[in-house]
C-alpha cells in the first residue's frame, strides 16, 4: 500500500510523437484512481510507464515515496491486469497464479496458502487445475485478478480489464473489482475509455485528452463542474448539449434570441464575449407550454425503458432532452423547456475552458 506520485511525466516516441505531455498526479494511499479518455489520449501509455513497461522520457514516477523511473517492472512492487488477461495458455490456473511467486522464490507452502486464499476470494477454487482456454471470459478475468492479488503488491494497475467482457458481465465484474479493491485497500490505477466504468469505480477521476490531464477530481465533482468543454461532453451519457452563445451582461447569456440567466459565471466578462452554453439533457425541466419556456420541436424519441430521450434542434444545433417515461404525452410534437440558472455551464468558445467555478469547495 502506497502513495503514487507522478511529476511532470512525459513520453515522447521516436519521430517526436508526444503521447503524454507532462502529467502530474497524486494518488493517495488506498484510493482507486481511474484514468479515462478517448483512445489515443495517452492514458494507457501513462499506466504502462507506472508499470515500467514503457520508459519515461522525462519527469518522475514514485511509488511509496521511492522513485522507480529506472526500476525493473518486477521490482516495482506492482501487479497488472491486462485487457486480454495475458494468462499463460500452457499453465494451469494454479500455476498461472503461482508463477510470479515462484520466480520470487517464495516458500512452497506459502505459495499454496496464498493461491488458495486468492482462489477463495475470487471463487475460482473449482478451476485451479484447468487450463485458461477451458474457462469463460469472466473466469479468465478472475484468474488474472488472482495473479495480481497473490503478489500482495503496493499498487494494482488495471488496463481496460473489462473491455473483452459482455455488457452484463462487465457490470458484475465492475462491482466485484470495486469491492475487492476496497477490501484489500490497495492503491489502484484503472484505465478505461468507458465513462460509466470511470464514474462508478473511481475515488479519483482523471479525464485525459491528447496527452494532457483535462480535469482531476471526485467523480461527482467532475460531473457537476466539468473544467472544460471536452470533459463536459465526455463525461455523462447522453453527452451535454452545447449551444453557441454571447455574453449579454453580468450573469446573462444570449442564446438563439433568448436570454438565459446564469448563476455560475466568472465576473468581468465583456458583453459580446463568445461562449458556449452547456446544458445536461437530464437537467431540463419540462413545463408544457408555459410563457417563460423555450420550445423544442421533437424530431424523434429514443425509448430507454425508465427514461426517454427527445432529439431536436435549437438554433440549428442538435439538442437532447432526457425525461422520465410518461412525463411527456406520447403525441407531443414539441417540448416546453425551462432550465434553472445554476444548472447552466458556460465555456469559453475559443479555449473551451469553463467560465465559472470548477472546485466544489468554492461553490456557495
Amino acid at each position: 500500500m502506497a502513495v503514487v506520485t507522478l511529476q511532470n511525466v512525459r513520453k515522447v516516441y521516436a519521430g517526436d510523437i508526444e503521447a503524454v505531455k507532462g502529467v502530474s498526479l497524486d494518488i493517495p494511499d488506498g484510493h482507486l484512481c481511474v484514468l479515462v479518455g478517448p483512445s489515443g489520449c495517452g492514458k494507457s501509455t501513462l499506466l504502462r510507464m507506472v508499470a515500467g513497461l514503457e520508459t519515461i522520457t522525462s519527469g518522475s514516477v514514485a511509488i511509496g515515496g521511492r522513485e522507480v523511473n529506472e526500476v525493473e517492472p518486477a521490482d516495482r512492487d506492482i501487479a497488472m491486469v491486462f485487457q486480454n488477461y495475458a494468462l499463460y495458455p500452457h499453465m494451469s490456473v494454479y500455476d498461472n497464479i503461482a508463477y510470479g511467486l515462484r520466480n520470487r522464490r517464495t516458500p512452497k507452502d506459502e505459495i499454496d496458502r496464498r493461491v488458495q486464499e486468492a482462489a477463495r476470494i475470487l471463487a475460482i477454487e473449482p478451476f485451479l487445475n484447468r487450463k485458461p482456454r477451458a474457462l469463460s471470459g469472466g473466469q479468465r478475468q478472475r484468474v488474472a485478478m488472482g495473479r495480481a492479488i497473490v503478489r500482495k503488491p503496493q499498487v494494482f494497475l488495471f488496463d481496460e480489464p473489462l473491455s473483452n467482457l459482455d455488457a452484463k458481465l462487465r457490470v458484475q465484474m465492475r462491482v466485484e473489482i470495486k469491492k475487492l479493491q476496497r477490501a484489500l485497500g490497495v492503491t489502484s490505477i484503472y484505465v478505461t475509455h468507458d465513462q460509466v466504468e470511470a464514474m462508478t469505480l473511481s475515488d479519483k477521476l482523471v479525464v485525459m485528452n491528447a496527452g494532457r490531464v483535462e480535469q482531476v477530481g471526485a467523480p461527482s465533482e467532475v460531473y457537476r463542474r466539468p473544467a472544460t468543454r471536452f470533459v463536459a461532453t465526455f463525461i455523462g451519457s447522453p453527452p451535454m448539449n452545447l449551444l453557441d452563445g454571447v455574453v449579454e451582461g453580468e450573469g446573462r447569456v444570449r442564446v438563439d434570441g433568448a436570454v438565459l440567466d446564469v448563476s455560475d459565471m466568472r465576473a468581468g466578462l465583456q458583453p459580446g464575449h463568445l461562449v458556449e452554453v452547456g446544458i445536461r439533457p437530464e437537467d431540463l425541466e419540462i413545463v408544457g407550454s408555459a410563457s417563460n419556456s423555450v420550445s423544442l420541436p421533437i424530431d424523434f424519441v429514443e425509448e430507454l425503458g425508465a427514461t426517454q430521450l427527445f432529439y431536436g434542434a435549437l438554433g440549428g444545433q442538435p439538442f437532447v432532452v432526457q425525461a422520465g417515461t410518461g412525463v411527456v404525452p406520447a403525441d407531443a410534437k414539441s417540448l416546453g423547456l425551462r432550465i434553472a440558472a445554476e444548472r447552466i455551464h458556460v465555456f469559453d468558445r475559443e479555449s473551451g475552458q469553463r467560465l465559472g467555478r470548477v472546485a466544489e469547495t468554492a461553490a456557495a
Partner: protein, 282 residues
Amino acid sequence: MVERRHWFSDMLPHLILTIGVGILAFPVWLAVVGSTWDAGTIANGTMPLYPGPYAVENYTRALGHGGRSSGEPVGMLMLNSFVMALAIALGKIAISMISAYAVVYFRFPFRMAAFWLIFITLMLPVEVRIYPTYQVVAQVGLLDTYAGLAVPLIASATATLLFRQFFMTIPPELVEASKIDGAGPLKFFKDTVLPLSITTMAALFVIQFIYGWNQYLWPLLITTRPDMQTIVVGIKKLLVTQDALTEWQIAMTTAVLAMLPPVLVVLVMQKLFVRGLVETEK
C-alpha cells in the same frame, strides 16, 4: 449450401482421388512386391503384381550383408542415415528457434540486417555452396564423421522464418506479464515460449527429419569410407554394377527399408504435425 445429390456427382471426387492415389502408390507397391521375388523373376520382366515367396530371404540378406556391389549391410546404412537426419532436425530446431527468439524479442543494432542475412540464405542451399562448404569441412577434418554430415546442413532460414512467424503471434502482453512476474528473457524462453512452441517444433521436426534422411549429394561427397555411407547413397550404389546383374530384389528391399523411418516419423507425429501447422494454441 444446398447440394443436389446424384450418383455421378457422388462418384466423381472418389474417382479422381482413386486415380491420384493409384499414381502415387503404384511405384511404392511395385517396390514392395519387387522386394519379395528373386532376381531372375524381376530380370526377365515377368514379375507379377502380387507378393512372392522370397521376402524373408531378401530382407535378412539386405539388413545383414547388403548387395554384392555395395557390400555394406543396410542396417548400418540406416543407422548412419538416422543419426544424420536426427542431428540435422534437432540442430535446425535448436539454432533457428534461438535466432528467431533474438530477432523477434530483442532490439539490438543491425537487427533487421541480421534478419535479412538469414533470409538471404534461403537462396543458398547446399548445392549452391557445395564447393566452399566441402573445403571448410575437409580442412577442419570432418570428412567421414557424423558432424561433417550434419553440421553444414543445420543452418536453416526456413525454420527461422517459421519460428519468427509463430513468435509474432504470441501476444505481447505475455511478455509484459512475464516481466511483471519477474521472469527474465531466459526464463520467459524456457517457461513460456518453449512450451508454446511444442507443436511448431514437432511440425518442423517431421519436415527436417525427412529433409535430412533424403540428403544424397552431400553425403556422397564427404563420405569415402563405406561404413559412413547413408542409405540413399547405398541404394544408388546397388543399381550401378560392373560385370554383374543388378540385384534388383536387394535394391527394392533396400528402397522399402529406406522408406520406413520417414513413414514412421510422420505416422507417430501426425497429430502434432497437423496441429503445429494449422493451430496456434493461445
